[in-house]
Symmetry: C2
Subunit: 327 residues, 2 copies
Amino acid sequence: VISTNAGGINVLRYGNTRNLVLGLEVVLADGEVWDGLRALRKDNAGYDLKQLFIGAEGTLGIVTRAVLRLVPRPRSSVSVLVAVPDPVTATRLLRRAQGDFSETLTSFELLEAPCVTMTLDHLGGGDTMVPGVSPWYVLIEVSGPADQASCENTVQRFLEAAFPDEVSDARLAISPAQADALWTMRESIPDAHNRAGFSVKHDISVPVSRVAEFLRQADAALHSAYPQVQSFTFGHLGDGNLHYNPLIKLDGHDPIDTRREVNRIVHDIVFSLGGSVSAEHGVGQVRLGDVERYRSAVELRLMRRVKEALDPEYLMNPGKILHEEAS
Amino acid sequence: VISTNAGGINVLRYGNTRNLVLGLEVVLADGEVWDGLRALRKDNAGYDLKQLFIGAEGTLGIVTRAVLRLVPRPRSSVSVLVAVPDPVTATRLLRRAQGDFSETLTSFELLEAPCVTMTLDHLGGGDTMVPGVSPWYVLIEVSGPADQASCENTVQRFLEAAFPDEVSDARLAISPAQADALWTMRESIPDAHNRAGFSVKHDISVPVSRVAEFLRQADAALHSAYPQVQSFTFGHLGDGNLHYNPLIKLDGHDPIDTRREVNRIVHDIVFSLGGSVSAEHGVGQVRLGDVERYRSAVELRLMRRVKEALDPEYLMNPGKILHEEAS
């Protein structure tokens, strides 16, 4: 979790894992153990060494212990599945939600219709939770210190104010069981997707204001190259992080070549919009070539300097994030 | 602001500056410019290089541009000055406030009585804002997306529930002008303090749960060494960060020696409680010896490796954070 700076559906409220780490113990490449197990919210006594190891995928050292920041458990929680006409409107709805709920806006997930319908087919049932037929949905959670009735009222008022300009229909979960069912649907999307045929996965981010533009460009480019493509997009609109996972008919084409070609089309667009080719799942081996392609020469040099300062012999998790160079 | 990872009175809600930086442009020691001006909330495509430069006090490069995260302006805000008997009770009140207000708890400042009375004397007036005679006060701000009346009701209920166990008296600002006056008082404390005589300043942090213990130990140790010491403590209890700035009668003693001796007494206690000798103001030159004394050999070596990877000739802001070693 720490070595990948993991994200997920609640980053909007709580931040990435980096935001929750106060202290670390790390085994270094030379075998020494760094004890940085502080429990401080504020510490500016020199370089903040823990930042080096968070998200470094074990390439600078092995995290063996950690001190995490905790937050009070929310007293109330409301989930609602909302029908929206398109990603532009969904982004406008996000801005409204941020104004109304501030930090208590916990999740804001964008779901293309096939993600919802195919997942409910896969799970068997649950269609009653879907607010009408719509090309896009947004799954929202608001949680916080208010009592349950106040929290529900706030969400009701938000939905009324957004209807019909941004919201065409909505189903508010009226029990914890209904809320659980909505989030089970959300969490089962990757599973349903994996059964749906050959697809090419992406874990991209762009500035939130450019998500709709990214989708417009990527969908157009892919339809042009693969007329039978079926888009299948879901993800964390609140963070600008999408799992853009189109289903592609192979028609005898090589899956590895196809994956490479689709990745290239999508990632070139991401790059042109100032985005990242790995928002929350890291580089590993799979995205190594992308890092070399899309990060600048200055950045790659800086990354290598950091790597060689902490692990000059490339002993730690070799072959991840950076190739060992024969220099 | 970025190179010192600045803090202040709203860290409780918004985090340190590090938490608000999305992208940076930095001039490196070799004269190259790193363009890391991304505007992404999530990016795990390799090392998060911006973390290196935030809080590095310019010793690894010069920050020339930045992309910052913005948050919606709160719709409502309530400030209240609360009388509490002691720091233990103030810490209990903080926990209650975190439960009741969650992220909308914006500030939670602990003020020893002399900070309030001397500052109001200095400003001339404002005593009507003080809720009775008390050895300690807490200045709280709650702000968020609710309307002003709801926000005030929430704070009223919080105070009623905390009375009399944690709160002996309270003055809630009933107008923006009264709230401004409370915060002007808070912001004028350093000014009033500077006129009050010789003092030794600290910018320490300990885990929030150990703040009261720190004060007990530090006050006792200083009273033993300097029977005429007058304690003068204020700071960000919500972050465990105190400005522990006792007024000392010099009685002919050398101010530089006295400062060194008091720093040593206080910082040894901070260290024994797992704290930091620089919570929000950085190391600079003044705290350089403290960093060498209190950070472990492994840490100092790691810091030096990072420094030498990015600035092998010690060109950037020399003499800050780390001495240049004749190795």
